[in-house]
């Protein structure tokens, strides 16, 4: 809540994180799963003492080097930079909370890169057995990086005993790190990593020329890397789903069972798409390289890679959306507002509580309601919405035909987005039953709008200018103004 908002036209700054993150995940998962692939394949080559497989490993690891140590490593730093730019409040919570964990991850990361470089540059120069050991060490160390980041990532959604219901920190950082989703998420990521390692290996194996028998053998071998995910993946996904916050579970279940109802089904759609991609991908691997390695070529391998990217895209996207409207579940909303801050801000007023809004507001005239409303929008809404045009969740489009009243009502409604009503009733046996229900339909989708009533009014005044009605009114006003500007001439002739 105390940082300026980086405005990115059309896609909004959130997608900057999203795109870099998805790109990174697609490579970094390969960096770890591919480590296991190198280790196992090199063990295979060693057992068979076959130079042809060694040659393949050499080629594969060069591809690995160029992809993971450059794009993988840099894009990983890129996520970190991007969250600092697009969501500095969230980033600073993570950094202040998990700083030392990141430090520990860094030791793994540095060792990982050093090991891989050592592995790569000693290929063929070292005793084969020791070189094989080096590959296994690489996998072990790279798994360490996953272990640490997995705790931080899952802790953002399922933070265990770290918080109480009001969003106050009551536990230690370890409660957040070893949270309920830690183990299932770790397992799921490992399965994805093995599968991705297989897909990348299919790409490199498909380029083998002139050795059809080896090529087909390696294709089938690589295809089998889907197996762990196929066998155990669904189990762990179910386990993972049970660790999610009940509200999130509810949104997923109701979304999936009644896809299409209402306007909030994007998350369900993306999860559905993710399931489709996972099954489709495995199906393609079965009919492609596994059952028909003869017909498999590099174009097909690239198609698989693209499908794999589609899977990762939807998987990461849905994981991000599950956390909505929080950036750290139950603690901080995506706009940087902390849950335990709401009452305070409502009492003090938004402009008083947000350093940047206050500073910017001080440069405006007091009666500039629309200007103040614009600042409210910037600091409370722009982390997820773009303002004009047809951009990502553009307010102009979402507000559509709503008029002034409707917008004011909407804002009033959204003030209570965090409120959960509980109702006491008696069941047939006479026991007291407490049913809880969100006060507004936007609960679980949007943070509450905070501030004094006049600040909220300013926000709706500004939103009116964005809506279709407001735009038309604005155009009319401009025309009227032009008319009055040309008017004086006619009045002078009259007098």
């Amino acid at each position: 809540m105390s940082y300026p908002v980086w405005e990115v036209p059309n896609i909004g700054n959130g997608w900057i994180i999203g795109l870099i993150a998805i790109f990174h995940v697609f490579i970094s998962h390969f960096a770890i799963g591919g480590g296991a692939f190198l280790a196992l394949t090199e063990t295979l080559a060693y057992k068979k003492n076959d130079d042809r497989i060694y040659d393949y490993i050499k080629k594969h690891s060069k591809f690995f080097l160029l992809l993971t140590t450059v794009l993988g490593a840099v894009s990983g730093v890129g996520i970190w930079w991007a969250i600092g730019l697009a969501n500095p409040s969230g980033a600073s919570v993570l950094i202040q909370n998990f700083g030392l964990f990141w430090g520990a991850e860094w030791t793994f990361f540095a060792a990982e890169l050093a090991t891989f470089l050592a592995y790569y540059y000693t290929m063929g120069k070292m005793d084969k057995k020791n070189h094989c050991v080096l590959a296994w060490i690489y996998f072990g160390i790279s798994f360490g990086t996953l272990f640490v980041i997995n705790g931080i990532l899952t802790g953002m959604l399922t933070n265990g005993g770290w918080l109480n219901a009001q969003g106050n920190i009551v536990g230690t950082v370890y409660d957040s790190f070893f949270n309920p989703a830690f183990w299932p998420a770790l397992a799921i990521r490992l399965f994805i990593m093995f599968a991705l390692a297989g897909i990348y290996a299919l790409l490199t194996a498909s380029t083998i020329k002139g050795q059809d028998d080896l090529k087909q053998y390696l294709l089938r071998y690589s295809a089998k890397w889907m197996l762990p995910g196929l066998i155990a993946g669904p189990l762990f996904v179910v386990w993972y789903m049970f660790t999610l916050p009940p509200a999130t579970q509810q949104v997923i279940v109701s979304g999936l069972s009644s896809l299409g109802e209402g306007n909030f089904s994007m998350m369900a759609k993306v999860i559905f798409l993710c399931i489709v991609f996972a099954t489709g991908l495995i199906g393609m691997v079965i009919v492609g390289p596994f059952l028909n390695p003869k017909g498999f070529n590099t174009t097909f391998a690239l198609m698989l890679l693209a499908s794999g990217f589609g899977f990762m895209f939807t998987e990461e996207w849905s994981r991000e959306m599950m956390r909505k409207p929080y950036v750290i579940y139950n603690y901080m909303y995506s706009n940087g507002l902390r849950k335990n801050q709401i009452a305070q801000v409502n009492a003090d007023g938004f402009f008083k509580s947000n350093a940047w809004a206050r500073a910017e507001g001080a440069t405006l005239a007091k009666e500039d309601t629309v200007g103040h409303g614009k600042l409210m929008f910037r600091y409370q809404c722009m982390s997820c919405h773009t303002a004009t045009g047809n951009g990502y969740r553009s307010m102009a489009r979402l507000l559509g035909e709503r008029d002034e009243n409707a917008i004011a009502n909407l804002i009033t409604l959204m003030k209570d987005n965090h409120v959960i009503l509980s109702e006491e009733s008696k069941d047939e046996k006479g026991n007291t039953v407490i049913t809880t229900k969100a006060k507004t339909p936007y609960n679980g989708y949007m943070p509450p709008v905070v501030g004094h009533q006049d600040e909220l009014d300013a926000l709706s005044k500004y939103l009116v200018t964005l809506s279709k009605k407001g735009m038309e009114a604005g155009a009319e006003k401009a025309e009227a103004q032009m008319a009055t500007e040309s008017a004086p001439q006619s009045t002078t002739t009259k007098s």
């Binding site: 908002v5 980086w6 840099v74 980033a91 600073s92 990141w102 990361f109 206050r358 500073a359």
Partner: protein, 379 residues
């Protein structure tokens, strides 16, 4: 007037720091040191090796060709190390000075994020040289040169951000001029001297790296080794002499109060206001002189002993400079943001784990270096 409307900087998150501030400051400086060495070589090594390759253009067996190719081959490794080690100082910078760094980064979001793309392109430029020099022939050194230029742009953006975060009074007008993160800190008087000073230092460090290559080849090929030592020492010597002009230029553009912490013309024996800063300043001047003399000897005689003396004092000098760089930051903003005022609640277990892992990492890297060395010895 409400001060926060003039200096709209955020507050720390309402949760304690995970480790004592002094420790994190130490890690910040140490982290910068281990980042700076490979980063400097990666930064200017491309230009240096390209020049060597152009010099030895028609002489395939010449020392220049050999050295140019060897340096170029090592550049991806230096780049990897620079990126990896860069994480540490940036991490602790964000913890300690987050309210300033996040804001300055957002103001220059576009150039700041473009660093990643420039880095990737430059990185691949190095690999294109190394894997494609046979195909590309004479044109290949241009890729090294190009990478270096891209890396210099990155360095320039870093200079912008690191200076911008120290001047929060610019934040609000800049943001109000444009919220889309397209700013740079070009109006900063220290920007250019700082950038020039640091880039020249990178050339000097590249000289150190070339000389160190010489130390490695001492037993195998004495003539080549001596040439390398002489070249490296000469590079260091020349650049560092140039720094006697650029250094003071940078120093005198610093704001007066910050200068006074290091030295004061009116103080006893030019002693500055801050004792530690003043001693550090004097020590580094001393180390500078030692390094210069040692390198001069190494340059003339090609002596490895002289070079090692120069190398050690130069590394110490870089360490001292890293600390001074940190102190400049502290002095510039201590009245605006002081991490020492924030609560600390050490996460003892993970702190111990981190420190143990850190030591283990160093030991592991040593072991790794040994086995790689052995592998190359055998073949």
């Amino acid at each position: 007037m409400d001060p926060i409307t003039l200096y709209p900087i955020g507050a720390y998150q309402p949760m304690p720091f995970p480790a004592p501030v002094w420790l994190m400051e130490t890690l910040l400086v140490v982290g910068f040191f281990i980042h700076a060495i490979p980063m400097n070589v990666a930064l200017m090594g491309g230009i240096t090796s390209a020049i060597l390759l152009f010099q030895g253009k028609n002489k395939p067996e010449s020392y220049q060709q050999r050295a140019g190719k060897q340096i170029a081959a090592s550049l991806p490794l230096f780049t990897t190390a620079a990126i990896t080690n860069g994480i540490v100082p940036l991490l602790f910078l964000q913890i300690l000075y987050g309210p300033l760094t996040y804001t300055s980064s957002i103001l220059m979001a576009v150039p700041w994020l473009s660093v990643l793309f420039l880095l990737v392109i430059g990185y691949y430029g190095l690999y294109i040289f190394n894997y494609g020099q046979n195909k590309l022939g004479e044109k290949s050194p241009w890729f090294l040169l190009g990478s270096s230029v891209l890396f210099m742009v990155i360095a320039f953006f870093f200079s912008n951000n690191m200076t911008l975060m120290l001047t929060p009074e610019k934040f609000l007008p800049m943001y109000q001029a444009s919220p889309s993160g397209m700013h740079l800190n070009l109006s900063e008087p220290t920007l250019i001297p700082r950038f020039v000073h640091f880039v020249l230092a990178a050339v000097a460090v590249t000289g150190l790296a070339i000389g160190s290559f010489g130390l490695y080849f001492k037993k195998k090929d004495d003539g080549y080794a001596t040439w390398l030592i002489k070249t490296g020492a000469g590079l260091f010597l020349g650049i560092t002499l140039l720094q006697t002009i650029v250094g003071p230029w940078f120093l005198f553009t610093l704001p007066g109060p910050v200068q006074q912490q290091f030295f004061d013309v009116n103080g006893a024996g030019f002693m500055g206001l801050n004792k530690m800063a003043s001693h550090l300043f004097r020590t580094s001047l001393g180390l500078d002189v030692i390094a210069l003399i040692a390198m001069a000897i190494a340059y003339v005689k090609g002596s490895s002993k002289a070079f090692i003396t120069g190398l050690v004092s130069a590394l110490l000098l870089i360490g001292a400079m890293s600390e001074m760089r940190h102190l400049v930051r502290v002095f510039s903003i201590s009245n605006i943001l002081d991490p020492n005022t924030h609560a600390v609640q050490p996460q003892t277990e993970i702190l111990i784990i981190f420190l143990v892992l850190f030591v283990a990492l160093i030991l592991y890297l040593g072991w790794l270096a040994k086995i790689v060395h052995k592998a190359y010895q055998n073949k």
